[in-house]
């Protein structure tokens, strides 16, 4: 039988507010357990939530970015269940009236092949704390620092038909929230989390029973978990079995999905409007002000990079894949004054160095101004592109700025005609046989043979002779 996969994603993006969604406690990651939990976060008797307006603004910004319906009136609801890291015994979320309604994003499947994916809704909610099961001698520790951290839960339509599409969609949302500056996108720290609803059906048939996959904390795991789950479901169905509706956990170590709880064990969350919070009424003015102050989004930036900097579609896409990379590139290009050269360097040497060192852009030892400054020295012919690689390596190693390194190591390019001519003459005199051969060779073979002389001159000048001048002089003297 021909099977078709159907996937919908629920993405939790942690909003980059300074304080929590319903209290004034800080949201910073990595503090000592329970040091960032105030009475409200601890669910003390008598405390009340107060909505953080910055979180509302960020949610609306996302809604505008995906051209979604914005709920002018949205309501917070309580999702009731017991768990030790859920202090109040309910999570404040949104149920019937979310802040962001139907929207859409476009994903690119192959070069030039685009597909729209529907966003059903996006709603605001608070995060729970963390249960720590290790190091407590048979007990469980609870850290409530994360409790009350604002989340935007973005729910897609079941529009994706493969793990690859799901990953493309997740990456797209990841890119958008980072561009908007509403989420840092850090998947390791859990700032951006995906759950996948996966089902299979005979092509064109009715929707199959879905399983919800959890614990997919990288794009690679997302893809892997979906593929494994699809295989599992198909095997099950083809063997005459039935898929049961359940939550399954992806176990990256064993590369399998495992049942966590079935539908029967699922909670009845008893949602009802939270009486402690008034409905959120958005006035058109706020939505309009967000609309007009919208940052440039990936698609627009890509188009601008192609148009303004003359970059290929591929280069523009790579350089806009994250906002931080795009910002880095633009700054380096601006300082260097050569957009194409900057693109080659950022995508080539620079990205290669990051990869090799296993660093993120933010951790790079060479900032955009420093790289741009070095490229400027290529542009103004102080150094050659080849020497630049050596300078870049030194900069990466923390030996200082480009000018400092060029000076200290005497890497300044030799452009004095007399000086270069002296080296050229020396090389020609030392290799009379080669000169003879060259002169006897036909036109077609000559360029290759010229390389020998260029190489010798560069070697003797320790790479500092201006290659263009060397070429010109050699041609003049050999012909």
């Amino acid at each position: 039988m021909q099977w078709e996969t159907v996937i919908g994603l629920e993405i939790h993006a942690q909003l980059a507010t300074k304080s929590k969604i319903f209290s004034g406690a800080a949201t910073a990651f990595g503090s000592e357990p329970n040091t960032q939990a105030c009475n409200v976060d601890l669910g003390m008797p008598g405390v009340l939530p107060v909505l953080n307006k910055a979180a509302v603004r960020m949610a609306v910004t996302f809604g505008v970015a995906i051209d979604a319906e914005i709920g002018q009136r949205s309501v917070f609801a309580r999702k009731n269940y017991f768990y030790p890291d859920l202090p109040k015994g309910y999570q404040i979320s949104q149920f019937e009236l979310p802040i962001v309604g139907k929207g859409e994003v476009e994903i690119e499947l192959d070069r030039g092949v685009h597909k729209p994916v529907g966003v059903t809704r996006a709603h605001l909610e608070e995060d729970a704390g963390k249960s720590l099961h290790e190091d407590f001698h048979g007990m469980t520790g609870v850290d409530l620092n994360r409790a009350g951290t604002p989340l935007l839960e973005i729910v897609s339509e079941p529009d994706m038909r493969s793990a690859k599409e799901a990953v493309a969609y997740a990456k797209k949302i990841h890119q958008i929230v980072q561009y908007l500056g509403i989420c840092d996108g850090n998947m390791q720290e859990g700032s951006f989390r995906c759950d996948a609803n996966v089902s299979v059906r005979p092509v064109g048939g009715p929707l199959g029973t879905r399983a919800e996959l959890k614990n997919l904390n990288s794009f690679r795991f997302l893809e892997r978990a979906i593929n494994i789950e699809v295989e599992r479901q198909i095997d099950l169905l083809e063997a005459g079995g039935k898929v049961v509706q359940e939550t399954r956990l992806y176990d990256a170590d064993n590369d399998e999905t495992r049942s966590m709880r079935s539908k029967e064990e699922a909670n009845d969350y008893r949602y009802f409007p939270d009486p402690d919070l008034l409905p959120v009424e958005l006035d058109e003015g706020l939505i309009e002000s967000i609309r007009t102050s919208m940052p440039e989004l990936p698609d627009a930036k890509r188009a601008r990079f192609s148009a303004d900097y003359g970059l290929s579609e591929y280069d523009a896409e790579v350089l806009t894949s994250s906002k931080s990379l795009a910002d880095y590139y633009e700054q380096a290009a601006k300082v260097a004054g050569d957009a194409k050269m900057a693109a080659n360097w950022v995508m080539g040497e620079f990205s290669g160095a990051l990869n090799k060192a296993g660093l993120t852009l933010e951790q790079s030892p060479v900032d955009a101004d420093a790289l741009g400054g070095m490229l400027l020295r290529i542009v103004d012919k102080t150094i050659s592109g080849k020497i630049a690689k050596q300078v870049f390596e030194s900069m990466w190693a923390g030996e200082g700025g480009a000018d400092q390194i060029i000076e200290a190591k005497g890497l300044k390019q030799i452009t004095d005609v007399g000086a270069i001519e002296a080296v050229v003459d020396g090389v020609l005199q030392a290799n009379p046989g080669q000169v003879e051969n060259y002169r006897n060779a036909d036109e077609k073979k000559r360029p290759k043979m010229l390389g020998f002389f260029v190489g010798q001159v560069m070697k003797q000048s320790k790479g500092k002779a201006n290659p263009q001048q060397v070429n010109e002089l050699l041609l003049k003297k050999l012909d």
């Binding site: 003390m44 008797p45 008598g46 017991f82 202090p87 015994g89 469980t140 009486p275 402690d276």
Partner: protein
């Protein structure tokens, strides 16, 4: 000293007739003497009260101290008090020392009031008789063996017996007004949102409202003046200016239109109570008011609606009492489920469990529309009844409760009969209106309350109307025998 009003005491303190330390000691002595028989206090704060009194004396001698400076009051044990046990009448919180002050508590601190202690109450404010307290029932000062009403029964009994000058209470379905009626004192439930709920342990969030319980309308005004106001920590508190509640107390009420709902008279109402109500209404006529018969057609839906909404909210509000972070935890839990089941099973009393179960059921998938959603719709109808009535009248009056204080144990096994004792007060909470109870002609020596219902944020008018009656009658100044 214990029969004086707040303004009389304030004058006495400023004139140097007595100090706050002396006044406080007088009340502490009365508490020590009478509380064992009344059980109106759960916690007595002798040392901190005397410290606060000494500080108040200093402030008064420095001049420019607010009216309540040095006045001994009590807080219902539902308000969190920093460093002081806040039990909410429950075993669940018997070990809970609140780490912060409720907004209301900090306002009284700022106003210089002296807190004598925390008063007894029905567990988590669920009850109409104060029998549902982990700390045992409170006795009505007017008759030992009779209930003081509830849930603010401890505050009502303490005020009536002169064990504090005034007290705070909370009212979700009548919990200030009904005990005020049973104990012969003046109690005011403000408009929903008038007083911050921050630090007031939630029972039913959309209905709960704190308010004053005092001997007179004038004292209630002084208390409300301190309590009322917007609080950024409570999203449901109202950003409305707070008027001067004492300024208009003596305003003439000639021409006042008093609505008397026909649904509030007759029916299950004790005829003797109806006679007391009519007597009070006749006094109002003498003061120049006009009586208008009105109808609140959805009155009988109040109790059933309330007993869906309030339990639904409480079932969620009380989830935080899970034995994990504070409050009662069972010994040696086997696992998480055991921890939850035994901690909650042991920590909560029967009425609280009953309401959590009713509320959980009402919110369950498949029942939500039939119960919770429907109740919310009826709530709108009830509000509409009042809105229409206030087009014709300025205030509404009727009985606070259908009977006088009943005996301890009399209704304890019959929750529905108990629930019906709030029939006249509940609709006011569902609509979010201000309501008040003031003492009128007693029946067989037991106090009777006249309920006054005002339009939104018209507490000043209610206080004025109540005060005018108290100027021409002395029902409010009666003192129970043995507590003179």
């Amino acid at each position: 000293m214990h029969n004086k009003t707040i303004s009389e005491l304030a004058q006495g303190l400023r004139a140097g007739d007595f100090s706050s330390v002396e006044l406080t000691q007088t009340y502490l002595d009365r508490v020590a003497r009478f509380n064992p028989q009344l059980n109106s206090y759960i916690t007595i704060c002798e040392a901190t009260a005397l410290q606060a009194a000494a500080l108040a004396d200093q402030q008064i001698s420095d001049g420019d101290a607010p009216l309540l400076t040095g006045i001994p009051i009590a807080h219902k044990d539902i308000f969190c008090t920093d460093g002081v046990k806040t039990s909410c009448g429950s075993k669940m919180l018997d070990n809970f020392i609140a780490p912060y002050d409720a907004h209301v508590v900090s306002l009284f601190k700022q106003a210089g009031a002296v807190m004598l202690g925390k008063t007894n109450m029905d567990e988590f404010a669920m009850g109409s008789s104060n029998e549902n307290s982990f700390y045992g029932p409170v006795h009505n000062p007017w008759k030992s063996g009779a209930v003081p009403g509830g849930s603010s029964g401890g505050s009502a009994a303490a005020v009536a017996a002169g064990l504090c000058v005034a007290a705070t209470g909370t009212d979700t379905g009548g919990s200030i007004r009904q005990p005020a009626a049973f104990c012969g004192i003046t109690g005011l439930k403000p408009t929903y949102g008038r007083v911050s709920r921050y630090g007031m342990i939630a029972f039913a969030s959309s209905l709960d409202q704190g308010g004053p319980m005092a001997r007179t309308a004038e004292d209630a005004a002084a208390m409300l003046q301190v309590m009322a106001g917007f609080d950024t920590r409570d999203s449901t508190s109202a950003e409305q200016p707070v008027p001067d509640y004492t300024a208009g107390l003596n305003d003439d009420i000639a021409g006042l239109r008093i609505g008397v709902p026909r649904e509030y008279l007759g029916g299950g109402l004790d005829p003797a109570i109806e006679a007391s109500i009519q007597l009070a209404l006749a006094e109002y006529k003498r003061l120049g008011a006009e009586l208008v018969e009105i109808s609140l057609p959805n009155t009988e839906l109040g109790v059933p609606t309330y007993y869906v909404v309030a339990p639904a909210e409480c079932s969620s509000n009380l989830s935080r009492f899970d034995g994990v972070r504070f409050g009662h935890r069972c010994s040696e839990p086997k696992d998480l489920e055991d921890l939850y089941k035994r901690s909650r099973g042991e920590g909560f009393g029967a009425e609280v469990k009953r309401r959590i179960m009713v509320g959980t059921y009402a919110l369950s998938a498949g029942y939500y529309d039939a119960y919770y959603l429907k109740a919310q719709k009826i709530r709108h109808l009830i509000s509409d009844d009042f809105r229409d009535a206030f087009k014709q009248v300025d205030v509404i009056m009727g009985p606070t409760a259908p009977s006088t204080a009943f005996g301890i144990g009399e209704k304890a096994d019959d929750p529905v009969t108990m629930y019906l004792s709030d029939i006249y007060t509940i609709a006011v909470n569902l609509a979010g209106l201000p309501g008040m109870s003031i003492p009128v002609q007693p029946v067989d020596g037991m106090p009777v309350g006249l309920q006054l219902i005002g339009n939104y944020f018209e507490e000043a008018k209610l206080l004025n109307v109540a005060h005018r009656l108290q100027q021409v009658t002395d029902w409010h100044s009666a003192t129970p025998a043995g507590f003179e």
